[in-house]
């Protein structure tokens, strides 16, 4: 590594982290509030049109933020895998005015209405959740939470869980291949395959557990359990003045819609 590039890397940590897009650079908590408020508003308005509108809004936001290439295929898969099935099950199995009879089951008008409404509501929630994790890196979320006063232990548990899933997943594949090489049957009938399950999972857990000791020492060496304020390598961008205003405004609209619906204004 040359001196200049080393300098650049070091400088990268001297400034707040930017993901190079105003939407992505919002404070993670602002993003969370905005998405939740939009979902609640969409669902509270009732029917399938508002929920679908929220879904489309999320897609537009993803494209504007430059994450369309990863978000759109993901959400399309969810629409096909979750939304479509939820819709079809309801459309086919809800009793009512028969549109298309199909033997014992039939497509009914009520079924289509209910199915569409329910699928759109679920997809609005799905779309919001996936969008949030598309926009906010887990590290930034835990950092923002820590700045709000969440204990470092809690954010460690959250962050380490994600890391452990990746790590232990890789270990599991290695152990599976190793056990296959040693002659553990991983093919054959169900009972053979169930028997192969135990010698794969047990080493993964036991090795992970043994590694926690080293991790405990490493964290102690970095004063993780000290109760003073923890420092971090990465700093989040300063939250702009209008961000909380935006979050609160959308929250008020969401609550307003719920209250409005409850009182029967529209």
């Amino acid at each position: 590594m040359t001196v200049t590039s080393l300098q650049e890397v070091a400088d990268g940590y001297r400034q707040p982290r930017s993901l190079g897009n105003p939407i992505l650079d919002l404070n993670p908590i602002t993003t969370l509030c905005v998405i939740v408020a939009l979902i609640v508003t969409g669902i509270a308005l009732g029917g399938w049109v508002p929920s679908l509108a929220v879904c489309l809004l999320f897609m537009v936001a993803a494209v504007v933020a430059g994450r369309g290439r990863t978000y759109l295929p993901l959400i399309l898969k969810l629409w096909l895998g979750v939304g479509l099935i939820l819709f079809l099950l309801r459309a086919l199995l809800t009793p009512g005015h028969v549109l298309i009879p199909l033997g014992r089951i039939a497509v009914t008008t009520e079924g289509i209405e209910q199915g569409l409404a329910f699928a759109c509501v679920v997809m609005a929630i799905c779309g919001g959740v996936t969008l949030f994790f598309e926009f906010v890196p887990m590290r930034h979320l835990t950092l923002a939470l820590e700045r709000l006063g969440v204990s470092p232990q809690a954010s460690y548990v959250l962050l380490a869980s994600f890391q452990a899933i990746t790590d232990l997943g890789a270990t599991a594949k290695v152990v599976l291949e190793a056990q296959t090489a040693r002659g553990v049957e991983t093919e054959g009938n169900v009972f053979m395959r169930v028997r192969a399950f135990f010698p794969v999972l047990a080493p993964v857990f036991l090795s992970a557990m043994a590694a926690t000791e080293e991790r405990a020492i490493a964290l102690d060496a970095r004063a993780f359990n000290s109760s003073t304020r923890h420092t971090s390598l990465v700093e989040l961008r300063r939250t702009r003045r209008w961000e909380p205003v935006l979050a609160v405004a959308l929250g008020v609209i969401a609550v307003g819609v719920i209250v409005g619906r409850a009182l029967g204004w529209f």
Partner: protein
């Protein structure tokens, strides 16, 4: 000096090893599911970590594992979130069972699967009925749909499809938990909050208990 949050205090009370075991429990939940897929097993096996941490560290850490697993799972399949309460229940129940020594003998362990399957199958079916009106996607959803097409009503179809499925799922789950607990070295077991159960020792004084587990 930053005031330690409730969560931090709660975890410290269980000993530091518990903080490091919770992420592993979450990961084991996922890895168990992955291995089941790799071995093409017709069951989920996605609550081993919850029950394991519940059995080793106590009910509340187990519940945290269960809740976190479902939250993380709901990033990719958001309908899972509705079932988080089941996984929380598994954790708490595992903690209780562990204290009364259920996981020390294989036949008691095997029997405990009935209780776990009751939570998973019966309450799971209730959630499907209340939250999703009995109709939700996935393999079980298609079975339910098929049962309803034969003329069964939506509630019966849910129980008929989910309870037996869950017994099939929980038997290998608790057996895996039993096998893993057997494999934990005594040296590590001594540091776990509920390790005394498996080391055949008397229960340490209720208040003094974390003292044996603080130094990882």
């Amino acid at each position: 000096m930053a005031p330690q949050s409730k969560f931090g205090q709660f975890l410290t009370g269980y000993g530091r090893l518990t903080i490091y075991l919770i992420p592993i429990g979450v990961a084991i939940n996922f890895v168990g599911g992955q291995i089941a897929l790799l071995l093409k097993l017709p069951v989920y096996l996605d609550s081993i970590g919850t029950i394991l941490v519940g059995a080793l560290c106590g009910g509340l850490p187990g519940a945290v594992v269960g809740f976190l697993s479902n939250v993380i799972n709901s990033i990719t399949s958001p309908t899972t979130f509705a079932y988080a309460i089941l996984n929380v229940g598994f954790g708490i129940l595992a903690g209780y069972f562990s204290r009364i020594g259920v996981f020390r003998s294989w036949w008691k362990t095997l029997l405990s699967s009935v209780a776990f399957a009751f939570i998973g199958g019966f309450i799971g079916a209730l959630i499907t009925i209340w939250v999703f009106g009995g109709l939700v996607g996935g393999g079980t959803g298609l079975i339910i749909g098929a049962l309803m097409a034969t003329g069964m009503d939506v509630n019966t179809a849910n129980f008929v499809a989910q309870v037996p499925m869950d017994v099939l799922d929980k038997v290998p789950t608790v057996l895996a938990v039993y096998a893993i607990i057997k494999g934990i070295p005594r040296r590590l077991m001594a540091k776990l909050p509920l390790g005394w159960v498996y080391l055949g020792q008397e229960r340490p004084g209720a208040k003094a208990q974390p003292a044996t587990a603080v130094q990882p």
